[in-house]
Amino acid sequence: MKNQALRNDILAGMFLLPFFLIYVVFTIFPIFKGLQMSFFDWSLIEKGEFAGFSQYTALFTDPDFWQSLWNTTLFVILSTPGMILLALVLALLANINVGSKLRTFLRGSYFIPSILSVSVISYIAIFMLQPYSGIVNNLLNSFGLEGQVYWLANPVLAWVSIVGVTLWWTVGFNFILFLTSLQDIPDSYYEAAEIDGATRWQMFKDVTLPQLIPISRVIFLLQVLASFKVFAQILLITDGGPGTATRPLIQYIYEMGFEQYDLGYAAAMSYVLFFILLIFSVIQIRSGGQGRMI
């Protein structure tokens, strides 16, 4: 019997080993490596001297750090409501019971931008938003608006552009999650409400919405987590500009690490991001987990 237990241990070890190795080296070890790096002068080329807490004290007095952290937060604040409300509206629209061809078409249309590469959507946006020759300004002009809108040259408009593009690009994921939940609401609930003589609005308010609350919470937390990681589309569309008005934290980390070759400082700032994201991750996992499986 003892023999059997040992055999099982070894067997389990063999099954676990490939995943375990990759997981430890590339997921767990970086957490500790990053902590070490943040306490050293660490250039892109080599490890330098022990720096104590100096990276962290520098970070607290670095206005660029705070600005980029604020920019990231601002993006979360600006994009999250739209990401949820628009997704809900789209899901309600795509859930109407008419021919399945139309339903599939609507579902596909709302989701398809999500599968495009960030580089593709960014360059579509850049070219569509160009002054003089871009089609967005063309359209505005043909609707009677005089002059040119410089979408990416003005901080407010640059944020509008970034949030708008991101909404178009990724709202499809949330949309699908809402849609699936809508379709999961048992018909009997509606039938019961109907027997009670509920109006359509009452049905929506008393049946649909309450049923969507759990998934809304999941979507909200996933959305906040995802938005805090914003980087690529801003880098490509505005490069953080005009000036540094839209530069998010990850871009600043990148610039410090790979344009100023200061990996130690970049690691220290990453740690701040790490803790922010960790907090949301913990909340998310405690409040119901990733998607529907867990």
Partner: protein
């Protein structure tokens, strides 16, 4: 079944993993391959390629190869990252202003010995430039091939049309702050549909013009001369004054319209009367035979002549994969460039080899001699590991001023603060 699939996967991975590692090693026969990365665009890249071709044909020991270039910012990141990964090039182009930073990172190999072995006489290099490349260890860490100051270009046809040329064919401009403005007021009147001065409100050109004015007004260096721990020594008042003067040229009251998208194109197609940019403009526009232009130093509007300038240099990265053999090959190529800098000057640049600058071959080339003297007045950000980064900081903060988001006073204050943060 599963086992074979897994083993196959691992095999595939190692195979492809090794593939990129082996790239670049030479076979035993044939020339030693020396890989060079560059940041050139358009004309510069073509001229450099023809020099490389010339070198490869001139001898059989080495073969220099140059992949497609990256933009400057990406280029530097790429070079440093790849050297860190021991997959860097054997030689890379870098501006003189970034060499102290690279030296400090331990990225550069001294070139004194390799140069000597290759027969390259560094004493022939312009002393001013060479000094900026001599680091604390008293060694030269990069080989300069040119100086590329910011100069001024005028469309000759448009000048004639507007009557802005003197009888002797020179630009009819009084070299004072008021004279400069007056010149453009006359230009605007004579050519209402033409952009008088094409400088984009963001980026490099506007920064270099500000820099030129600042130094013409007697402004001091941004940093004290200390490699690792310099102090900010910018002359705040002068910086504001220079910014105010340039800012007054932008926008409706001025003569630099907003949002100039492609100044080179606008200049070459007679839509812009003039611009200020690097000397590489010469190399671009002189290939268009129907296009007539004048190239000259930025006018001295204030106390002393000054302009912005930097140098293209070649350095040899310090890494395992750059063997002695490859280093020797890189030095041999530097030597070839040294002797053939006149050919590089076709791109518009001013040679760093004084022998070439004094040569008849160079002085017979059109345009260059009109501005070659500028070399004496070039102010270059250098001497500290922060010089190159400070250019970014300056550009970014000045952009805010030109766009009108901050006043010159505020912008320069922010600029000074950021320069200060950089060194802390």
């Amino acid at each position: 079944m599963k086992k074979t699939a897994y083993a196959g996967m691992i095999l595939l991975l190692t195979a492809v993993g090794c593939q990129s590692q082996d790239a670049g090693t030479s076979t035993e026969t044939g020339p030693v391959e020396v890989e060079m990365w560059s940041l050139f665009s358009g004309g510069d890249q073509a001229y450099m390629q023809s020099l490389i071709d010339g070198f490869n044909e001139s001898q059989e020991e080495y073969e220099v190869v140059m992949p497609a270039p990256s933009e400057a910012a990406d280029h530097y990141t790429k070079v440093v990252t790849s050297v860190a990964a021991n997959r860097g090039p054997d030689m890379a182009v870098a501006h003189a202003s970034i060499i102290p930073e690279f030296y400090n990172l331990g990225l550069t190999k001294p070139i004194d010995n390799p140069a000597e072995n290759a027969g390259l006489d560094l004493t022939e290099v312009n002393e001013n430039i060479l000094q900026t490349l001599k680091m604390e260890d008293n060694k030269i860490h990069s080989y300069p091939i040119d100086t590329h100051p910011t100069v001024m270009f005028f469309n000759k046809t448009l000048l004639e049309e507007a009557g802005l040329l003197t009888e002797s064919g020179e630009v009819d401009m009084e070299e004072t702050p008021e004279g400069f403005v007056d010149f453009y007021k006359r230009a605007e009147e004579a050519l209402p549909d033409t952009i008088p001065l094409a400088i984009p409100t963001v980026g490099y050109d506007a920064f270099t013009v500000w820099w030129a004015f600042y130094h013409q007004m007697g402004g001091t260096d941004m940093y004290s001369d200390d490699l690792q721990e310099p102090e900010v020594t910018m002359d705040n008042e002068t910086a504001v004054e220079a910014a105010e003067y340039l800012k007054s040229m932008f926008g409706k009251e001025g003569f630099i319209p907003p949002n100039i998208s492609d100044p080179y194109e606008q200049f070459q197609t007679d839509r812009a009367l003039s611009l200020m940019t690097g000397v590489w403009g010469t190399g671009i526009w002189e290939t268009d035979e129907s296009f007539e232009f004048i190239a000259q130093p930025i006018p001295t509007l204030f106390d002393e002549p000054a302009t912005y300038g930097d140098s293209h240099t070649l350095f040899i990265p310090e890494q395992e994969s750059t063997t002695d053999e490859k280093t020797a090959g890189a030095a041999a190529f530097m030597n070839y460039l040294h002797e053939n800098q006149a050919q590089w000057a076709q791109a518009g640049h001013i040679p760093a080899n004084d022998e070439v600058t004094d040569s008849e071959e160079f002085n017979e080339m059109p345009y260059r001699s009109d501005y070659a003297g500028v070399v004496e007045n070039v102010e270059q950000p250098s001497g500290t590991i922060y010089s190159n980064m400070s250019i970014d900081v300056m550009m970014r903060n000045l952009d805010e001023i030109w766009a009108g988001r901050v006043t010159p006073q505020e912008g320069i204050e922010n600029l000074e603060q950021e320069l200060d943060e950089l060194v802390k």
